[in-house]
Amino acid sequence: MASIILLSVLGIANLFLGFLRSNRMLLPAAMVILLIVFGANVYDWNAPAQSYFNKMLTIDRFSVAFTGIVVLTTLLLLPFSQKYVRDNEANLAEYYSLLLFSLVGAIMMVSYDNMLMLFVGIEILSISMYVVAGSDKRNVRSNEAALKYFLMGSFATGILLFGIALVYGATGAFQLSEIGTAVTNPANDSLRPMLYIGILLMLIGIGFKVSAAPFHYWTPDVYEGTPTFFAAFMSTVVKTAGFAAFLKLLVQAFPAAQDFWIPTIVAMCALTLLIGNVGAVAQQSVKRMLAYSSISHAGYLLIGLVAFNGQLSGLSANGIFFYSLAYSIATVAAFGVLKLVHDQRQREDYDGLNGLARTNPLLAFVMTIAMLSLAGIPLTGGFFGKFFLFGAAVDKGYIGLVVFAVVMSMVGIYYYLRPIIAMYMKPADDDVATPIAVGSFQSAVLFVLALLTVALGVLPGLVSGIL
């Protein structure tokens, strides 16, 4: 709870820094705020679970763990905003504050107990994202991204809301636990079709937010147009919060309806894996590849939902937690390097990375670790992420789905290797041979990202069973 209050209050304080025209203070201030929030979150970890606002929110270990991921991700991502800061001096403070506020939304999404809070959380997060997607105001692509994301997002929100309404109609409750009991009540059996339609619409609404197929169409275009820094935020924080919300909803409200929604999610999962991975193969731009890869990772995370065990702990929840963490860190690293390269080489295709190992060994190394992690190759966190999720699904008997996912991750290896090949095995073109200037702070953060990824890959036991 402290994290929500701190983020809101300090976010406003951060906004005032803008009035004081102290732009140089914004980044350090935002990072200090996030450090404070992270510290408060660690404190919450050891406190007993507690409900707030008439049981609207519950802060328990589950919500604290996922809050930890989103805060940590943002903290590690912020240093890459620097170039962005210089280019948009006019309304900087707003963007930083929007990020902090959107985290409030994300935290609500991982700790809600009531459908209303879920909706408010999603909206806080989404509206911030609509704005930042268009923050590169003079760029047509950025405008396109914002408009597309906004229009599609609004539809999805509407569908989600409709779903909530139908579920309310079928169960007479907004509170997750009450919905859970109402679903099992035989007196409501005649309302089952309404409930199922409601659940389906909610799946669609959240599926859109986490870019699961077939609701993924916005992802590549929006990522491409959105400034890289914010695209990284979208593909990590939004997805992590979305999946935590997804899991919480299914575990607390609809465990009794699992015969209905598990097959639906299995189908979504297979489709998402197929579209994400096959789509990524065809891309020529690294950023679009990462967009498709983020779709494919939504597919892997859906496997965690398929391995549903009716609890916010155990194999399924731990698998989703570990995967989200490993994925977020690797994605921040990949987008961070990509952003630095893009800022100075003005290119986002694979050839833009050519010869990076010669000019910037650190960038190439970090990108390699990130790619290996996303591909799920041992020694990196991504391997154990996949391992835990696939293991959880095998434990529940979904062997066919896991085999398909393994085949799809073989496809993934193909496109994740391409940046590595470009960086290490192709000579730089003449015009891009100059080293990329990287600040020492950014270098340190990149190194930390690589280190965290390897640490998750070598000592996964540190966080693997904490829920």
């Binding site: 731990n318 190992a357 290996l372 190759i377 041992p378 020694l379 391997f383 154990f384 391992f387 835990f388 696939f390 293991g391 095998v394 434990d395 062997i399 896991v402 085999v403 393994v406 991750s409 073989m410 290896i413 193909y414 290797l417 090949i421 290490y424 095995m425 192709k426 000592l459 996964p460 036991g461 693997s464 069973g465």
Partner: protein, 488 residues
């Protein structure tokens, strides 16, 4: 603890190498590899040959999932660790003759790979084994991909995809086996991935039938067994000489070792169901590799195909399921490691001096190069399996094993000795004898550094050839144990 030291020392050296600049890096890397060899020799001296794992380290790794960091060595592991630690310093020494760009990184990757290889040979936990299996792949991919020949990018890409896809099948098999096991020893997890727990499983014949293929494909790609070999000649040819030596000298043995340690004891019924097919594939590989080798004009490619032929024979020995065949495979792993590294090293020497490795462009080297000629001949005859050399013991035992399995297969596999003599002696004749060509006119004999690589190899060739018992007695208890595990 000694095993853990062997495992992590190269890794630590590789990391430290980052801080060593310039030429000092070579000395540092070589010194570390030599020290590692001495530690391995010390381990071998204190070792007593019995069938149980020794020098074990067993720590919880992912306690909540019952996965432990369990390493240890029996005779079989120890022999392969010895082979690895013996060859790596020589491979490093051999690569000093090249001026590789960014050479500290090059040596660091070689040492990093050594950690992966030793990890594979000492792991006693399925997921740890898989982990190191991939850890060994990553450095060799970069070694071959960055410092290789012109077509390196496409070739190493194919190699990487091939091997990693193969090993994902193995992982799938391990995951299935993992869920068949009982609770872990620590009581925290419902399952365990310990090797012994996998040995204790009682699987139905139907399960073993498909598990056999899942696990075997990873090993078959690594060895490689016909028809999974298509990555091999290109990769051996395009990779820089030290990487080729690592691939053929040590990495290839990961596949054979994997069959011995994991495949045979875990899926004995699968082996008895499909063994005949593997035998036939292996024998096809033997003949196929040898016949294609005869036609090669490129020395490196010729050696690559000869290696394919030899590994086929080793696989056939393993799947003959006789003690002689298995013992032959073990000793031949050592012998082939030594021989093939020698062959690739000599090919590299000749290429460096003449800028060509095409056999028709070479000739007339014997007059000016007594040392090279003698070394080459010794290594070559060891590869042909002449008695008193290392190749003979292994091939004899292997063929005897295959004959016990089936006379006809044994007879066909036996042709390899004749074919081997044909392509190798022809190569020697055309490269070393005859009139000198424009490429070979100003050829110098071996220098001290090159001798420092070749002399230990030649000593080993004769050691294995004359006193094979040194090694056979070390591996015998392990081999007997593997065969008895198959009788469950």
């Amino acid at each position: 603890m000694l095993t853990a030291l062997l495992l992590f020392f190269p890794l630590a050296a590789a990391l430290l190498l980052h801080f060593v600049k310039g030429k000092a890096g070579r000395v540092f890397a070589f010194g570390a590899a030599l020290l590692e060899f001495l530690v391995a020799v010390y381990a071998a001296i204190t070792f007593n040959a019995s069938n149980t794992g020794q020098l074990e380290v067993n720590l919880p790794w992912i306690a909540s999932a019952g996965i432990s960091f369990h390493i240890g060595m029996d005779g079989l592991s120890l022999l392969l660790v010895l082979l690895t630690t013996f060859l790596v310093p020589l491979i490093l020494l051999a690569s000093f003759r090249h001026d590789y760009k960014n050479e500290s990184a090059f040596y660091a990757l070689v040492l990093f790979m050594q950690t992966g290889l030793i990890g594979v040979f000492t792991s006693m936990d399925a997921f740890l084994f898989y982990f190191f299996w991939e850890v060994a792949l990553i450095p060799i991919y970069f070694l071959a991909g960055i410092w290789g020949g012109e077509r390196r990018v496409a070739v190493t890409f194919k190699f990487f995809l091939y091997t990693i896809i193969g090993s994902l099948f193995m992982l799938a098999g391990f995951v299935y086996l993992y869920y068949q096991t009982g609770p872990a020893a620590n009581g925290l997890a419902a399952h365990t991935s310990d090797l012994q727990a996998f040995y204790n499983l009682s699987l139905t014949a139907a399960e073993q039938s498909w598990l056999f293929w899942l696990i075997f494909i990873a090993f078959a790609v690594k060895m490689p067994i016909f028809p999974f070999h298509t990555w091999q000649p290109d990769t051996y040819t395009e990779a820089p000489a030290p990487a080729t030596m690592l691939l053929s000298g040590i990495m290839l043995k990961m596949g054979i070792y994997g069959c011995l340690r994991w495949l045979l004891p875990i899926t004995p019924l699968g082996v008895s169901q499909w063994g005949w097919l593997i035998m036939i594939l292996a024998v096809i590989g033997i003949i196929y590799g040898a016949i294609i080798a005869i036609r090669q004009r490129d020395m490196k490619r010729l050696i690559a195909y000869s290696s394919l032929s030899h590994v086929g024979l080793m696989a056939a020995g393993v799947f003959s399921l006789t003690q002689m065949g298995l013992q032959g495979a073990v000793v031949q792993m050592l012998a082939h490691g030594v021989n093939v590294v020698g062959m690739f090293f000599i090919a590299d020497i000749i290429q460096r001096r003449t800028n060509t490795r095409l056999i028709p462009e070479l000739g007339g080297l014997t007059q000016t190069t007594p040392l090279l000629s003698v070394s080459f001949l010794v290594v070559l005859l060891a590869t042909v399996a002449l008695p008193l050399t290392s190749g003979f013991v292994g091939e004899f035992l292997l063929l005897a094993g295959v004959f016990q399995y089936n006379n006809w297969l044994g007879a066909v596999a036996g042709i390899t000795i004749i074919l081997g003599a044909v392509y190798l002696l022809r190569m020697f004749q055309r490269v070393m004898l005859g009139p000198a060509t424009a490429f070979t006119a100003a050829f110098r004999d071996l220098n001290g550094a090159e001798l420092a690589v070749l002399v230990p190899l030649i000593v080993m060739i004769f050691w294995i050839g004359l006193f094979p018992n040194t090694f056979l007695q070390m591996s015998e208890p392990s081999v007997i144990r593997i065969l008895s595990l198959m009788q469950r």
